[in-house]
């Protein structure tokens, strides 16, 4: 069937033009006098492009074909090729889906009429970001890659500082910009050394480089720093929480749902070059991955800012994906194809899943902030009554992100677990199995984090006046969320379909693998999983029926919650977000540092006082910021060289002359 359709038209061309359309979608708005139409226009264009782009990339994915376009450009860096292979096609899917959904969400969330000053720029850079990501996946010329990469990074920056009147947004922006620029510097090294190896700036073909060559290690390191900083792998994550927390929500959705994946794509792509990666690489990836997962979710548990919590959980999910990739690399190095398959399948599928439920949650948080006007979870509560639909969709997202059946998050983690357990029969690397309990711990913490999030936002009774009168989100905001929720449920109930989606990408990553047979085997296992899912739903339905029947037969009354005898209960004595996680935080105290401001109570009748505890960015606040201060101080000392004394300036010249003379002879 695909072949027939391909006869009809060239999917690669469709995908490419879709990307270009998305990029140009925001431009008309810049020139229109009225604010509204530009936004509508760009949204419509983006959605149409996505509608064309998704099927096109699916075809490319399943047809296992590789299409190449050569772009004419006047720069002296060799030919500029655009190539779409299954790996790129796979990563293209979330780009189209999320960007389209986000732009639809923006119509309700950031209406042009209310944000005359910022809407144009926002729409424009949003399109630029989306299309640059799509084109990035096709770029095969290193220099072109960097250019697109930087366009992506910068447009993300401009989206992030949309509300730059706020100090906190500016800080987040600067941190982000510095981090991403440092990453780009690493990419300079990366592509230069690749060029030194291959003699051209074209990205090497799969398996064309040897990992034993002296530069390979440096190349890998540079890639890890450059791409890992973008992906937010620990310890390169410092920019991530504040950036994702302070961007407009639909932008956070794209940044977290797609942009992080671009960093991962870079790492995937890099690993394909080498035909014999040493064990060390896989080990490093695995360790960094599991560390990010654990610490990321631990930080998430401690957060009190809604979007920060989501951002930290992004670090966790990226960590899980990286773990999967690392395990797969270990499989490659130890020639254990089952491990490769399961690791890659888990990683890729989790990439897909994360780009469904994370945007769902971020969009949901947008709706929440829209309704309650704050990001502080301790001030929310009871929103579920005002906005039941959002609450339902958000519940789907939360369950999915905890990796709980019957939703999609579970499927990818399930594959990883299988991979770990399979090691018990392997000849080497048997200790990988110890990742299973760690991953289980991550899952447990995720449940803590998201019950905290969900309950303190939607459940109970409102803790502040702001949250008292929420309003349901509009259709344009609900539709994208519902769309993602549906996808989560779909993959959760029919995982074997999703597995067919990732197999081509895997085989393009590791051609030696006889992927058909293996995928068939695991397809059947996942089939049993979906059976269990169905059973679960039926069981739930049965219990519900039983209960309804009993409810019908007996009296139903309603009364205020029982205060255990305490009659004067107020909304403030509910368990809030902070108090809920307090116990868990105290257990993991070593990892999560809380800055606790306690007032000093003195005298017999101390006045009113507040106590607050704020989770701290350990790495940023304890290590990096001090380093910057140190550098500033030492530089200030060095700046005395420019002291305005003419004769000393003359001495500089004389000294230079003298030294050069001595050197010359």
């Amino acid at each position: 069937m695909y072949s027939f359709l391909q006869g009809a038209f060239d999917p690669a061309l469709v995908a490419l033009s879709a990307a270009l359309v998305i990029g140009c979608a925001g431009i008309p708005g810049l020139f229109l006098r009225k604010p509204g139409p530009g936004q509508i226009l760009s949204t419509v264009a983006t959605i149409l492009a996505a509608l064309a782009g998704v099927p096109a990339s699916l075809m490319l994915l399943f047809s296992h074909s590789t299409t190449t376009y050569s772009l004419e450009w006047g720069l002296p860096f060799g030919p500029c090729e655009l190539v779409i292979d299954p790996l790129s096609a796979f990563f293209l899917l979330p780009v189209y889906l999320v960007s389209a959904a986000g732009s639809l969400f923006a119509v309700g969330y950031w209406p042009a009429a209310e944000h005359r000053a910022t809407e144009r720029g926002l729409t424009f850079f949003y399109g630029l970001l989306a299309s640059s990501m799509a084109i990035l996946l096709m770029a095969r010329n290193g220099v072109f890659f960097i250019m697109v990469w930087e366009v992506m990074a910068l447009s993300a920056y401009f989206l992030l500082v949309t509300e730059h009147e706020r100090e906190e947004v500016r800080r987040a922006g600067i941190v982000y910009l510095i981090a991403t620029h440092t990453g780009t510097a690493a990419l300079f090294v990366y592509f230069s050394l690749l060029a030194a190896q291959t003699g051209s700036f074209m990205l090497p073909a799969a398996g064309s480089l040897s990992a034993l060559s002296p530069y390979a290690a440096i190349i890998a390191l540079a890639a890890f720093i450059g791409f890992g900083a973008k992906a937010g792998i620990m310890p390169l994550h410092v920019w991530l929480p504040s950036a994702h927390a302070n961007a407009p929500s639909h932008v956070s959705a794209v940044m977290s749902g797609v942009m992080l994946k671009m960093g991962l794509y870079g790492i995937f792509r890099t690993l394909t070059y080498f035909n014999d990666p040493p064990l060390l690489w896989g080990a490093v990836l695995t360790i960094c991955g599991i560390t990010s997962a654990l610490l990321g979710i631990a930080f998430a548990v401690a957060q009190r800012d809604l979007k920060r919590l989501l951002a930290c959980s992004s670090i966790e999910n990226i960590g899980i994906i990286t773990t999967g990739l690392g395990v797969a690399m270990l499989g490659v190095s130890s020639h254990n194809s089952v491990l490769v398959y399961l690791g890659m399948a888990g990683a890729l599928l989790h990439i897909l899943n994360h780009s469904f439920f994370k945007p769902l949650l971020f969009l949901g948080s947008g709706a929440i902030i829209h309704a309650s006007g704050t990001r502080e979870m301790n001030l929310m509560g009871g929103l579920g009554k005002g906005m039941p639909r959002v609450a339902l969709l958000f519940m789907v997202g939360s369950v999915a992100i905890c990796g709980i059946p019957p939703l999609n998050g579970f499927v990818s983690e399930f594959l990883l677990y299988l991979g770990f357990f399979r090691q018990l029969k392997a000849h080497s690397l048997i200790y990988l199995v110890f990742l299973a309990p760690l991953l289980a711990l991550v899952g447990g913490l995720a449940v803590v984090a998201f019950t905290k999030l969900y309950s303190s936002v939607f459940l109970g009774s409102p803790r502040s006046a702001a949250a008292a009168h929420p309003h349901e989100a509009g259709v344009t905001m609900l539709v994208p969320m519902a769309f993602f929720a549906l996808l989560c449920l779909l993959i959760g109930v029919a995982p074997q379909v999703a597995l067919r989606l990732v197999s081509p990408a895997i085989s393009s990553f590791y051609p030696q693998l006889a992927s058909a047979a293996v995928s068939a085997e695991y397809g059947s296992i996942l089939g049993r999983l979906s059976l269990a899912g169905v059973l679960l739903l039926t069981a739930a339905a049965l219990v519900t029926l039983l209960w309804r029947w009993r409810l019908g037969r007996s009296s139903v009354a309603s009364a205020p919650t029982w205060g255990c005898g305490y009659q004067r209960g107020t909304a403030r004595i509910q368990y809030g977000a902070t108090s809920f996680s307090e116990l868990a935080v105290s257990v993991f105290n070593g990892i999560m540092r809380q800055r606790i401001e306690r007032p000093a109570l003195t005298g017999l009748f101390p006045g009113a006082a507040r106590c607050s505890d704020v989770p701290t960015e350990t790495l940023l606040e304890r290590i990096i910021a001090p380093l910057f201060t140190l550098a500033g101080v030492s530089f200030a000392f060095l700046r005395r060289l420019q002291h305005g004394l003419m004769h000393v300036y003359m001495m500089y010249i004389f000294a230079t002359l003298f030294i050069l003379m001595l050197w010359a002879n």
């Binding site: 004394l645 003419m646 001495m651």
Partner: protein
């Protein structure tokens, strides 16, 4: 003739030391003037007579010997309350350094290949020594006036070297010399006078307000 030229060059070197050693602005200005006059005479001694040469000589003597000193002197008299040099480095160390540099420049010149007909001149060492003396003044004297003087000495050093090339590429040398004179006179003079107008006195004008704090 040659011997006379060499003796004059020795005189130039002596003047360098005077400049390094003297503590009075006016005196050092005069000294530079004398040095200029001597340099004006030098071409006449080593080149055959020509009207062109006469012209050059007159111009140089006029400018180096009279115009510049006049400008500087006016600046000093009008704007300088304290007419001491106020060196950044004491006189004795400066003189010692001067001596050392002169020695260095002689050895340096010795190591460079020369035309046989220039072998027994001391043009090269003298020019380099003067150059270094100029640098020494520039680096050890605080005041604007002193630095102009240092610059002039520097130029004189270059001029001496130019004499070696005079017959090979006369236009070049003259252009260089004249342009330097232009800078020396007008621009420096003008700026000095501007400074003295801007800051009522050159003592207050140590010119150190532009810096990184």
């Amino acid at each position: 003739m040659i011997t006379l030229a060499d003796q004059l060059l020795v005189l130039v070197l002596l003047i360098n030391f005077i400049l390094l050693g003297t503590s009075r602005q006016i005196f050092s200005i005069r000294a530079v003037a004398v040095q200029g006059v001597i340099l004006g005479i030098l071409p006449g001694l080593i080149h055959p007579f020509s009207w062109h040469l006469v012209g050059i000589t007159i111009v140089i003597i006029a400018v180096k010997g009279f115009v510049i000193p006049q400008l500087l002197g006016r600046a000093v008299r009008s704007a300088e309350i304290n007419r001491e040099v106020e060196p950044f480095l004491g006189f004795v160390p400066t003189l010692l350094l001067g001596a050392i540099f002169t020695a260095i420049s002689f050895s340096f010149a010795g190591r460079l290949p020369m035309l046989p007909e220039h072998q027994n001149y001391m043009f090269v060492p003298a020019s380099i020594a003067t150059l270094m003396a100029g640098f020494l003044i520039l680096t050890t004297r605080r005041k604007a006036i002193s630095q102009v003087i240092g610059y002039l000495v520097l130029e004189n050093g270059i001029f001496i070297f130019g004499l070696l090339l005079a017959e090979a590429m006369p236009i070049m040398v003259e252009a260089g010399a004249l342009l330097d004179l232009l800078v020396g006179t007008f621009v420096m003079g003008i700026v000095i006078n501007q400074i003295s107008r801007e800051f009522s006195s050159l003592d207050t004008s140590l010119l150190t307000s532009l810096k990184e704090e």
